[in-house]
Symmetry: C2
């Protein structure tokens, strides 16, 4: 899908995308998300060939050889369908030639009726042979029945070299980063939209996709400015991520956004993007209980765990507009799967424009050599940490405050220094479930670095949240300034 | 889907399941997985009403008011379609009556053409009002235009009390647990199949589902023994989990299995099952690099992180057949979302039949008061820990070995005791990515329990694995006995 989108709308090249599908996988909803989008975007350069051999891994498929059934579905989803005998070379040749011509407005689905194991009578159309190598004696009989060892050499015409391919352009050094005055309340999702639009101006290969919530994620700012480089994926998150992968294959710089919670729909695609070594940028808004009234179904409380566990991933969680802008720019140049978590509400800008936020870094917002305790937050909880530090200072307790905007990779050095100064006393606060998020990231990093003596208060969302205001829900989860202050005092009293 | 399945095949009650869908969500592949299965299982008791109001959150939907387009798709997926004006009470009444009768073999989809915001001219059919409350002045005008404040009371006929409902039966105390002789090599996935079939005999409310890999997960043993209580979900993992949730609503005890990696397809459904407080059991086979030849796309290396982060979840990872059998039985009685990770290969049975494996416990397989280091594993890595302890003993080093079969909840007491005895020296070994799995579970638990001095070697799968034998891949990832021994020696040398 993404490669075909790029071919038709961005590269404007005449290449075609050939996709080989098994019949079993036609049961996956993601197949229908793809066909739906392929017909919506009139991708006549996309051809799916379905090998309808009737047999899955454990037995017959749902539709077996009901080719009409497959055809009705594919046609209803907007495809042109060609049905052939998948063992007849002339029919294959004709179908591929017809498919390759395209019809200008529809993707093509070639339904090829085949017989699994055809040509070897011992297994032909039999169950129980999926993914199994033959024992040696069977292998010998199979080769014999198939006509003996042959050394066929087949020459196919070479594809023409495309002439209009645009080479990948490096990101210019000085994109026009949006600037925000310190103290102004700006939602990080808004800063994402501003920066994406700015990147769009500077960099013609930046493209954006969203899952029907662009007015919430603020991807709509890019969509309005560069409609030709924006792809609406509607509510189909698997296809949202899959298309981003395809666009990255064509050397575009895709940013895909939706509510952070909804990326859980696409976890397999995210995982596979990492395995495929694609370069995609995911931006999840409305994370955590902070969203308030909409309730737990819309609250991402597992996203940091999910994204950290992806091989080679980058996980970012800025607290203010300035750092968001810097990190969105950095993501454009980052390889692999990168993820940025944004917040619904507007919070004060903390940093001056031009301050640097390298991926893998952290910011010390308050520190002294006499700090008694370290408060670590990111996103909405960083603001609570700052307020708690202020309260603690009022009681004569110096608290170091770390903005852990880069959760993976993580600034182990800053964490180790803080742990050393504050005698191992850490309060880690996150708007996320206890497992796999900020808390784990901090302690994993410290313990990977060597022996540690730590006393950690881990404030996070332990119970099922309800609906309420942000303030009510942050307090109910025990991750607001008051709870942070109390946890810090407890750590000091205990030791 | 699951409630309708239960009604038709298990409860054999005449109830109907009414589902209200938004038109925007028809873009989700999961909708088509559901309709596909509803028609495969001839669920004429399932009626989906689609509110086709043309407007999503950010603008028009893909198909807008193309009701024929929706109808063609739903019909191709096997549904009977009724198209109505969703504002005409007589048409609604007739459609619901027709739908309620059922037609014996097909689910029904009622496509209701509606106008968003109908009756208030300022917003009717306008974009930009999704999920937004009116300002007070608009609210006053809306009420006025809709006919002013009224206090209508509508009485509908009460549903008949079903007469054949089966009450939930408690699990009998003594299910016929399969027994395995110590030392025999048995794959934990095989023990899952054995135990599930045994539970099936003892407990009529246990049901099973699988995603077209039952011959690999061994759910096929249950399917063969109790075909009436087995539901094949083919390759549609979202629907696999969704149906399990529905079956649990009807007080069945569903076990849903597939390759552990493929549950990433259903993460949103798993998360939502927890939020919905459903009681479902998920069993993921073929976890980790241990699977060998099939390569990283089939290797679950994020599943423990994903499942731990689910609110109130239970995460189990047994190392042998005996403990697997005990934990599968325990899962039948466990509430919430529980997950069991099984292993492809066959490894020696470690425990005597009848040994107890409470959820939240751990097993000390080797221990003495003079232990110098603790080795913590689960699943395949536990066997490597035992082999490493043997090697260390040969060099005069006593290693404590913990079988951490229950990852969530976790046996903090056993971990704290081991840390205390071995001077905080822990080697944690897992066939999983570094983030959110066994390593995090151990250190999170210890640090939650209070101040700790720890020196941890965390052996896990850090790089993208390739294809090879189990032994080759476990060695390449650095999680075999040799690497564990070396890590333990390093911890002792460092301190």
């Amino acid at each position: 899908m993404g490669i075909a989108l790029a071919g038709k709308y961005l590269d404007r090249l005449s290449y075609r995308v050939w996709v080989l599908c098994g019949d079993s996988e036609m049961a996956e909803g993601s197949i229908w998300e793809a066909l739906d989008k392929a017909s919506y975007y009139q991708l006549s350069n996309l051809i799916a060939i379905v090998d309808v051999n009737r047999l899955g891994q454990r037995g017959p498929t749902e539709l077996e050889w009901n080719l009409d059934g497959y055809a009705r579905r594919a046609e209803a989803f907007g495809a042109r369908v060609l049905t052939i005998n998948g063992h007849d070379l002339a029919e294959i040749d004709e179908a591929l030639a017809t498919a390759a011509e395209g019809d200008g407005s529809q993707p093509t689905v070639v339904l090829a009726r085949t017989i699994k194991g055809r040509g070897f009578s011992e297994v032909e159309n039999h169950e129980g042979w999926h993914g199994k190598p033959f024992p040696e004696d069977m292998a010998i009989r199979a080769v014999a029945e198939l006509g003996g060892e042959r050394s066929l050499r087949i020459r196919s015409p070479l594809p023409e070299t495309p002439t209009h391919a645009t080479p990948a352009t490096p990101i210019p050094d000085t994109p026009s980063t949006p600037k925000y005055p310190i103290g102004e309340k700006v939602a990080t999702r808004k800063a994402y939209g501003d920066t994406l639009a700015a990147l769009g101006a500077d960099h013609p290969r930046v493209v954006a996709l969203d899952g029907e919530v662009s007015n919430s994620t603020h991807a709509d700012q890019f969509a309005k400015a560069y409609p030709g480089r924006y792809f609406e994926m509607f509510i189909a998150e698997q296809q949202l991520v899959a298309s981003a992968v395809g666009l990255s294959v064509r050397h575009y710089v895709p940013f895909a956004s939706t509510f952070a919670a909804f990326f859980t729909r696409a976890y397999d695609f995210i995982r596979m993007a990492a395995i495929s070594q694609a370069n995609i940028r995911l931006v999840g808004s409305h994370a955590g209980v902070e969203i308030g009234a909409d309730g737990p179904s819309q609250m991402a409380l597992e996203d940091l765990a999910m994204m950290r566990a992806v091989q080679g991933s980058t996980v970012l969680y800025p607290s203010d507009a300035t750092s968001t802008a810097a990190l969105v720019e950095a993501m454009a140049e980052q390889s692999g799967v990168s993820y940025l978590r944004t917040t619904r509400g507007a919070y004060p800008v903390l940093y001056n424009a031009g301050e640097s936020f390298p991926i893998g870094g952290a910011k010390l917002l308050r520190s002294s050599p006499d700090d008694a305790v370290t408060l670590i937050g990111a996103g909405v909880t960083l603001h609570a940490c700052l307020a708690a530090a202020e309260r603690l200072a009022g009681g004569g307790i110096r608290a170091r405050v770390i903005d852990l905007y880069s959760i993976k990779p993580i600034d182990t050095e800053a964490l180790a220094a803080a742990a050393a100064v504050t005698n191992g006393r850490l309060v880690v606060v996150e708007d996320h479930h206890p497992e796999g998020g900020l808390g784990s990231a901090v302690t994993d990093a410290l313990l990977d670095a060597g022996p540690q003596t730590l006393r950690v208060a881990h404030l996070c969302v332990r119970d099922l949240p309800g609906s309420g205001t942000s303030e009510e829900l942050l307090a109910a989860a025990g991750i607001d300034a008051q709870h942070i202050e109390a946890a810090a005092r407890d750590l000091l009293n205990d030791w």
